[in-house]
Symmetry: C2
Subunit: 200 residues, 2 copies
DNA sequence: GTCTATAGCAAGATAGAC
DNA sequence: GTCTATCTTGCTATAGAC
């Protein structure tokens, strides 16, 4: 038996019932549907059907459709934050760090599945719960990029918020034109950073 | 009386009944609602109410909700194309032309009302009719920027599609963070173009 | 934990009076 | 051209059997 050590990694993880085994599948199905059709156009029947159950059964796992959206958002932000922080680990040089973060952001957004796309595209105007609960978490994520841009060696006259907004806008918009099999996320990120550095 | 000259400007304009006077108001209301709440979450009753009529009455003007969305898109693309072409008129110098187009695009998107926002954000995954009918028109609009980027004096090694995608992505994404009263669209466009030119 | 069954409601759309 | 009234369908969510 493992002694009750003070856990530093792996936070307590909200205690749910012993075997809420279908919850991840429901969340996956929801993320996929929300991505493809949007939140409003997706029905609980759609999601339940994808997970192999009937609509009524979902309410054992999630109390409402809105809670489902919040859960997808939480998971999406968790994944994208983790990916970016891991990509930054050990990288030195301000431009190199910005490029690493951009590449990781893009990789999760374009190849990392449905959660991140929902976070980026399904804006919180859908739900008041989303705004209240998740706006701070989103802001915390954007702060990573704010700090990376602050570290760049730019002239004092260059408005740094333009750099951040331009890069994040270009990255986030990419999910509208990207098609799997095209240019790799790392290549796109490298290209965008090169342009920002004025190399052309 | 005007003789039936072969019209070159002002295309025939789909003949509707003599006094379809409420149609513009309905279209305005729809654009506003689609922008704020999204297409799926907006009901015909919402739109009709905003225009001061009941839901059933709308069907005298538009045969379906989807037709309403298509009409909003058409009008939005028309406005944004017109604004950019007018902004380009008489401007010389490849970077100056790109900046003028970017500023006009941004001005319509941020201060120009609801139509353009719907065009940009309410992507055609909503409706098969949108994809078929309007994808070519959207592509034609993007071609304006493709040509402007082709005219830039860049080294042969610079991938020009990165320039176009980065700029349009940054511009289109701006409607997620822009707040009226902040930096003017022209200033944002100028800042983005300066970054692309490598001036920092 | 999933099912059947259904309550309760709002949606898009139509018919016909005025 | 707008109204009233309504049809039909689909939705979220709940209750209770198994």
């Amino acid at each position: 038996m493992t002694a009750p050590v003070p856990a530093t990694t792996e936070p307590p993880a909200p205690r749910r019932s012993r075997r809420d085994s279908r919850r991840p599948q429901l969340l996956d199905a929801a993320a996929r549907r929300f991505r493809r059709g949007g939140y409003s156009a997706t029905s609980m029947r759609d999601i339940a059907g994808d997970a192999g159950m009937l609509a009524g059964s979902m309410y054992h796992h999630f109390p409402s459709k809105e809670d489902l959206l919040v859960a997808v958002h939480e998971e999406g932000i968790r994944r994208i934050t983790k990916a970016v922080e891991e990509a930054l680990d050990g990288v030195r040089g301000p431009w190199q760090r910005l490029e690493a973060a951009a590449a990781a952001h893009l990789a999760v957004l374009l190849d990392g599945g449905d959660y991140a796309v929902v976070v980026i595209r399904e804006l919180p105007h859908e739900s008041a719960a989303l705004r209240r609960t998740l706006a701070p978490v989103r802001d915390a994520y954007e702060d990573i990029f704010r700090r990376l841009v602050d570290d760049l060696p730019l002239s004092a006259a260059t408005p740094r918020h333009h750099v951040r907004l331009m890069l994040l806008g270009a990255l986030n918009w990419s999910q509208t034109w990207y098609r799997p099999g095209g240019e790799a996320p790392e290549a796109i990120a490298r290209g965008f950073i090169r342009l920002l550095r004025g190399e052309h």
